[in-house]
Amino acid sequence: MVDVLAELDEAVAELGAAVAALEAALEGEPGAAKLESAAEALEAATLALAEAAAAYEAIELPELPPVLALPAELQAPAAEPLIELPTVTGRDQIVLMARDPHSAFTWWELTAAGVGRAQAALDGPGELVLRVYLLQDDDQPLEVRDLPVRDWLGSQTLGLDRPGVRVVVAIGYRAGEAFAHVARAATIRLPRLAPGMSLVRFARPNTPTPRNPARLLPAETPAFVADSPALQAFTLGQAFPAKAADAAPAPMSALHRVVGSNHLLPAGEGAR
């Protein structure tokens, strides 16, 4: 999968270079040989792209449900009107970050040149889409789905609902079955909702030592001298009706077996 995408990348880049070379030949001093050479290069690049696109389309993907988009009211609004800040950087880019086990956030920027290159690779102008790839650890796709978007400058929260999965997103143009991307983000992994299956092993790295271990808790401590009057009458472990925590801590009954060990420990319940 990754190889095919890389070939597609390369073919798109070659096509862009060929277009640029042809434009340069047209703008420069007239010369039939130069033009002919540029036209040949363009033809070769177009053929290479067609082959790469065919290879991509040949990948068999399982029939999977569409990537869930968040409800409209939860979608990111357009960027705030920050007049003082340069909104456009002049670079084709897309960024993807994990928000939680179920969603990721992406922002992107496209340039006219980048869009031109992508569209040149297609038969028609195509439709601008976010293409989201959910990948297994071996880069095999779990899902590939397209989300239509409108703007060259935008952001979106992606509801993915696949904890622990690896995700990559590309933005580009789709025409029929063909897709030419303008920019692609780095691969991320959504947080897991359970421990992974790596082997349990122990280590003793660097043997950390406190700077002043003897001073943290002196072996010989002075006798307790005084206490606030309010504390003097208190007896340890006395009835404590105001709170439910008198007995053993409640979550202690909720046990889960730890894979690969003989220990049983409470699963615990997060309290934020």
């Binding site: 979608q75 990111a76 609004p77 705030e80 920050l82 003082e84 800040l85 340069p86 950087t89 970050m97 994990a98 928000r99 939680d100 086990p101 956030f105 922002w107 952001s155 992994r189 947080p191 897991r192 421990p195 992974g196 790596s198 349990v200 092993r201 122990f202 003793r204 790295p205 660097n206 950390p208 030592t209 406190p210 700077r211 271990p213 001073r215 943290l216 808790l217 002196p218 401590t221 002075p222 307790f224 606030s228 309010a230 504390l231 208190f234 340890l236 404590f240 709170k243 925590a245 008198d246 053993a248 801590p249 979550p251 202690m252 894979v259 690969g260 420990l265 699963a267 615990g268 309290a271």
Partner: protein
């Protein structure tokens, strides 16, 4: 000992300093925290020290907070603030003469502010210096935090940006505390896998994650959250929050701070008394604000609040401390029977919870240390470095991405209220890296401009702004700060690229944002 309890207090406030305004409302966050949290904590620790009670707490002190606590202007303003509080308390003692119950509370505040004023004078107005003294005396293990409380999981994996947040913090810690830190509190416990390699490069030995960070680690954690994990490759230890002890203090419903005896935070004479009377002690525009004088106790779920009794509240804090210890003992017994080592129960809290939100919190901590020392021999207070020294062999596994914020991951800092900032933050961080590489040996004005550009970027990255945008309080200020720092960053960037740095702009910004005086922009070109 069958178990250890590591109490961790995270001290942080965003860097707010506005010399251009004689009164700036958000600066009062610092003043309130000094009065209600930092000085009372120092008072409690000094009392323990005086009485020979051994104790050890872990305190994370963020660079913005340390810089503000040592800022000449802010310290001067704080002294005025404290004097005003004393004046108001004196007036209240007179006003409440005919109301015996309220009068007793007024006299309590009169005494309290005088005591705090004396304490502030006794430490020469240097809260950071006193923390350092307590560290050097072995009572506190002080650690750092990301430089401006930058939330690493949303830095798009930009190693340069993350490294700057880590390394600048460590250097700043050394400036304040005389040594680089052993540990770091990742802002909002925001851990993203592999950032531990950068922590190791900075010489850090441990950090904290929320409970599920370890529960969802790469390998099943054999001791749950009751022993640290070493991150593979880096060897940096991750300690996780114990959910049980957290809930007992944090929960607004079940937690100790909701007890009926405790001071009611939401009733303040800034709102309750006649406007003309209280006017000199609120916002100069006549806007009512909290003064810090509160006469009521929580009482219950009613608007009819009873009058506060400080002595009863302090007694209750002692009872709660004993209960907290009792439960940790039970927890340690349970865990020890199932582990081949003494469990380490990590209980981290925002320091400002103690005193500011939970007025009796510092009394609780003092009483807890006394109870643990005096009344049992099953559990002991510890710190992460001490725990690692006692048990250097630990499981190796990498925690999962996590935070301790709402939802447990990054959504609290990346949602429809604030996600617009990331496009700009990422781009500015990329450009800062380019600048650092393009100007490897700058000096003079150029160097100052580069340092200021780095400073502006770091300040823009503070997680506080995104946090405030989500919570919906003082959003305008958070947006303004984000925009202001980024706009200035771009102005400096463009001027440096064009070779036309505006000396007046650099000087003005250096003067206003006096954080990181030793900052070296080349940190952005030296990512390990």
């Amino acid at each position: 000992m069958i178990g250890h309890v590591a109490l961790v207090l995270h001290h942080h406030l965003p860097y707010i300093r506005h010399p251009e305004h004689p009164f700036f409302l958000e600066e009062r966050w610092l003043f309130e925290a000094i009065t209600e949290t930092y000085l009372p904590l120092i008072e409690a620790w000094r009392a323990l020290e005086r009485d020979g009670v051994p104790f050890c707490f872990t305190a994370s002190m963020t660079p913005p907070l340390c810089n503000m606590l040592r800022d000449e202007l802010l310290c001067a303003r704080y002294r005025t603030h404290l004097a005003t509080l004393q004046e108001l308390a004196d007036k209240e003692v007179e006003r409440t003469v005919g109301e015996p119950e309220s009068h007793r509370v007024a006299r309590f505040y009169q005494r309290r502010f005088r005591d705090l004023s004396s304490l502030y004078a006794a430490i020469d107005g240097d809260v950071v210096g006193e923390y350092r003294r307590l560290m050097e005396a072995g009572f506190l293990e002080i650690i750092t935090c990301t430089a401006t409380h930058g939330f690493l999981p949303l830095m798009n994996g930009d190693r340069g940006a993350m490294w700057a947040q880590i390394e600048v913090a460590c250097a700043e810690h050394a400036r304040h505390f005389g040594r680089r830190p052993d540990g770091i509190w990742l802002a909002e416990c925001g851990y993203v896998p592999h950032v531990d390699a950068l922590l190791a490069a900075a010489g850090l030995k441990y950090f904290f994650v929320d409970t599920h960070g370890i529960q969802h680690a790469e390998a099943p954690p054999v001791y749950g959250v009751y022993a640290p994990l070493y991150c593979p490759g880096s060897g940096v230890a991750a300690f996780a929050r114990d959910p049980e002890s957290s809930k007992q203090v944090w929960s607004s419903h079940e937690g100790y701070p909701g007890d009926a005896s405790y001071r009611e935070y939401y009733r303040d004479i800034g709102f309750d008394l006649e406007l003309e009377y209280i006017r000199p002690y609120i916002h100069p525009d006549g806007i009512r604000i909290n003064t810090g004088l509160k006469y009521h106790r929580i009482t219950g779920r009613t608007d009819q609040k009873g009058i506060y009794h400080p002595e009863q509240a302090r007694q209750r804090a002692g009872e709660h401390a004993a209960n907290f210890m009792f439960n940790r003992q039970a927890q340690a017994r349970y865990l020890a029977s199932r582990m081949d080592r003494a469990p380490v129960i990590v209980s981290p809290y925002d320091a400002e919870l103690f005193g500011h939100w939970w007025y009796e919190g510092p009394w609780f901590l003092e009483a807890l240390a006394r109870h643990i020392h005096r009344d049992q021999d099953e559990i002991a207070l510890t710190t992460p470095m001490r725990a690692l020294a006692a048990q250097p062999e630990n499981q190796e596994s990498r925690p999962g991405m996590s935070s301790w914020g709402g939802g447990g991951y990054a959504a609290f800092w990346c949602n429809e209220t604030n996600d617009w900032i990331y496009r700009y933050l990422h781009e500015a961080a990329r450009k800062m890296g380019e600048l650092a590489r393009a100007f490897p040996q700058a000096d003079g004005l150029e160097r100052r401009a580069l340092n200021q550009a780095a400073r502006e970027l770091l300040l823009a990255q503070a997680s506080d702004w995104a946090f405030i945008m989500t919570t919906g309080t003082t959003v305008e200020y958070a947006v303004k700060r984000t925009r202001d720092h980024l706009a200035t960053f771009h102005a400096l960037h463009d001027a440096l690229v064009a070779g036309a740095v505006d000396a007046a702009l650099v000087a003005a910004r250096e003067d206003q944002w006096r954080i990181f005086p030793d900052l070296d922009y080349r940190v952005y070109a030296a990512t390990p």
